[in-house]
Symmetry: D2
Subunit: 330 residues, 4 copies
């Protein structure tokens, strides 16, 4: 008996939706084996210990910036891709302590305890390299099937547990462009990134992590609500920044948008085409929903757009992303 | 009609269980208002920006140590206090991508996404100051009722979002004592901490975070299982270290045990008596279940027991604890 | 030192907001002790075994109706009162089975397993009598503090585990009134309920469970979306139905609305005033978000508005509500 | 570059582990199409409306039995197959109500609300037909890939929403055999089931649901703990009961054990071989972890082993199992 097939079985696509362009990039930028057959962290290998020591010299004022959005129910998620804002459940609390004994502890003493449920991509987060597949493969050629319902056996976010430390450079595009924010749909290419850096008087070097501010979070703040920040149109990186990124040998990048790349996407064939190359082919560290506004204001004031940066994720075994509190220090 | 009272209503306790000693300490070490009426972070105020700049000088090799235990189902929790090990649920994965289209993405491409459920005190974690109450109050005099089922309105862990950066000092007690590990039930007092520091050739200063290794995690590793690590007997700090801690004006401390203080506790009146003073009265930053073994091995090798330390928690609004990946850099 | 009080500390209220009317009703209808000091199920005691046997006689066609809304992310919740729609997480699935071995089971065989997270009040549900408090008490005089962060020690939903079986009567108000649905804000009183029953040719008896259809779910279906079904304006029971309900000695009632009583509420003093009397004082079984549309269509067709009804909740220890699949049989 | 394959890639198996016997049964008992190409509920189709009406006649005393184990942290799960006992989180509670205003409700009034997290196979439960696969197919020939990380598009548990109503027959094996309980490892075949029914004076008919008591839950009660009830050795159905089941045209069965079939399993090739045929080939309704002890005591007393049975699961869209409170009425 012939039975129904999975309902979303894909139809033939014609190349004018960009499949060819995507495939070309996926092959051209494929960097598997560059850091050994067993590598699971990709471009953060560009950071060497000397870079870390050198970056420590950027700590001159003792000013610390958290780049994380609060993890709570006021976050941007609205159910797109089944992601949701963090949920907090209390296991016991101060009202229990005031009202009565609980768990054998005398009234008035007590303690509070809690539980948090988070979509790892729901707020400020790093993607793991197991987050994206292309041609049944993920970064460094690992079989996509190594990411099952049990989690990722390879390329999970725990691989980054001690690897995201070094120099970060803020690129504040709206300030550079004289805008309040980059409008949704506006693509930034490598030339614009270079021009921004030059205008800011900062050099982009091998091993840097780029913090790219498009201003979309500021736009939401001005509007008093998230609108369709999560999964809607957005300013972002042009598809062709892939070459620029690989040439510069940066360690990774993070943006103040939901998805790093420009939306609507430049290639219609698949959602988030830049990601399909950046992660599986190039092994790029990508962060999203970073709150760069306070840091940007500070950089504008002191004119220094480079920081010491520590943003190692929670080593959640098997996870393909992690919430993170990225710390920039000047 | 008279009805049943809450079943755990506390019975009268006699002072020989230590209630008086606890009360004396709670009052003696009470430091409310020291950093202003609105303060919610307590002793991390001992860190000043100069300390951060100075500590940056400790980054000399570019060696990075993650002090977090992996967040997964192999953690130490066994249900005590309703805490549990982290649980990972996949929203989509590589097997979906290989098997079929999903969410409109062509087969072979796809992406993985996931969700994590964590008891905030379940693994490597910081306590927030809203975690503990005494006499219906928490740190800085805030009413315990400000921690309700909705979470903590005051003293939540998000207050630490950019405050746990500076110099940390490792005190490796078993190595100092010539032991494989400190046995459960063994209490360490201030004099022993001083002696350990002296033997290691490291000075404890105002604003430091102490990483105190008792070796219990190493003991579990040797045993091949957690046993009753979570909530059972443990080596730890003596109750009287409270005075030592306050005098030294340290910014906080973390241990490789479940609960920092010695177990069985020295005061029988209440579970974890040291905590009832350290958090509500003193405003002390306390971390637990830190994995200090690799760092300790490195310190033993190079003889340097001080590190640049970045361990800001996830800013989970309202939470009274947070999982954290503490980073030590040398 | 005097410190901040809980931020939501209540201000003095004047009686013109209806506090007096609420208090009068709470006292007038208080039925504590009626079924013994230990009772935790209230009005379902009105059902006796003879009623169950008699109701079995209503099973004449073998027609079975599920009155539950599907438990999924298409439900009505939008975060009001922190409630959310059910979330399903797969622990393993068919794509895993097709793609590879998993958990040692050969490829192609495998199994699927899953996890569900539900707000107990998020979909079709029974309230437990521990769901509501008045003057620090709940049903039968039990101290409200018996419902702590650990759950309800008394009056939890598990008390109903074998108690919700008997005769149910459908009251189809919009059909009776010649409307598509009762408009939000429209209150139904006891006289209207009586008139509806009379018009339908059905008698309301001691021990019945009333299924009261206001048509709001049909209205949402017509509109193609839930709108503010969850917590917004709604048709519903008038406050004064409390007397009518108690006099008739019904076992309970359920509606096709979010909150049973009319919204905006008739008493401004507190949200859902009818509930504050119905549950704590009267011990009434209340169900909400029941999908009565298919049953109503069938009753209109055969002219029989009485059914055999089995709707025991999941016995979730300590829970103050439970999702339920109520079954009506004719 | 050749990369690592999924780590659990299956090795060639020899037939002496029973693969051939499994395959023979899978083919022999395959009943796809019997109830139409679109059927998703299998053997419950054996129940017709006349059976329901007839079964109503069994309601003679108005005695109601809940066959569900309490859903709480005292359940049998210990992490096997990543299943866990139900977890309850309070969104607000009585201690909040007593201690303070919350959500704008005056102190002393308030309400409680909660959230439950359940592995659908964690307690008393029905399997959906999407729970098991064989040769990349599930019941009625549906592609296993229709059960993805998004849930089951076909054969989910919601298909049973109004289908599990009718006559149930209890087979109390230990009482029949004169044992306290059947020992783990003891297999019951069809002849024994027939003999038990005969001894009990009850006829097994087309459309019945069999409630088969092996006594393992009683054994755990006697031992004062679950031991390895969840996934360990167990009494249960012999593999060859498959023929007996199909011949008798029963609608389904449920047991008081974790997994219905005998453990250690009779076929070593795959875990739970009986399930691989019963669900994908035969479309059999299977329930597990049913608490049959109280019902069994009652049946022993009155000598009547047949009941009216209502056990429709929660219609959780896409789920491959559901917690259930099965109700037996006499």
């Amino acid at each position: 008996m012939t039975r129904v097939k999975p309902s979303e079985e894909h139809e033939a696509v014609t190349d004018d939706r960009g499949e060819g362009r995507l495939r070309d990039a996926a092959e051209r930028f494929r960097d598997w084996g560059r850091w050994g057959e067993d590598d699971q962290v990709g471009t953060v290998n560009h950071i060497d210990t000397g870079d870390i020591v050198a970056a420590a010299g950027l700590i001159q004022r003792g000013a610390v910036f958290s780049l994380a959005l609060p993890f709570d129910d006021k976050g941007p998620q609205k159910g797109h891709l089944r992601r949701f804002n963090p949920m907090l459940f209390m296991l016991r609390d101060g009202d229990d302590a005031v009202a009565r004994d609980l768990m054998g502890v005398p009234r008035g003493i007590g303690a509070a305890d809690d539980v948090v449920l988070m979509a790892t991509q729901g707020g400020t987060q790093w993607d793991a390299l197991g987050h994206m597949f292309y041609d049944d493969r993920m970064w460094n050629g690992y079989d996509a099937r190594l990411v099952s319902s049990l989690g990722a056996e390879k390329n999970d976010v725990a691989q980054y547990r001690d690897r995201i430390v070094g120099r970060a450079v803020l690129l504040d595009l709206p300030r550079f462009l004289g805008l309040d924010w980059c409008e949704p749909g506006r693509a930034t290419d490598g030339a614009e990134l270079d021009a921004c850096a030059a205008a800011q008087g900062v050099e982009i070097r091998r091993g840097d992590i780029l913090l790219i501010r498009f201003g979309q979070m500021a736009q939401c703040r001005a509007a008093g609500g998230w609108g369709d920040y999560a999964g809607g149109d957005a300013p972002g990186l042009a598809f062709d920044t892939l070459a620029w990124i690989q040439e510069r040998e940066i360690a990774g990048l993070a943006t103040d948008t939901w998805g790093a790349e420009v939306r609507p996407n430049e290639i219609a064939y698949v959602n988030q085409p830049w990601h399909r190359v950046a992660l599986p082919s190039m092994g790029l560290l990508v962060g999203e929903i970073f709150d760069l506004d306070a840091l940007a204001a500070d950089c504008a004031e002191d004119g220094r757009y480079e920081v010491f940066f520590v943003a190692c994720p929670l080593p959640i075994t098997g996870a393909v992303g992690s919430p993170v509190n990225p710390i920039a220090i000047k």
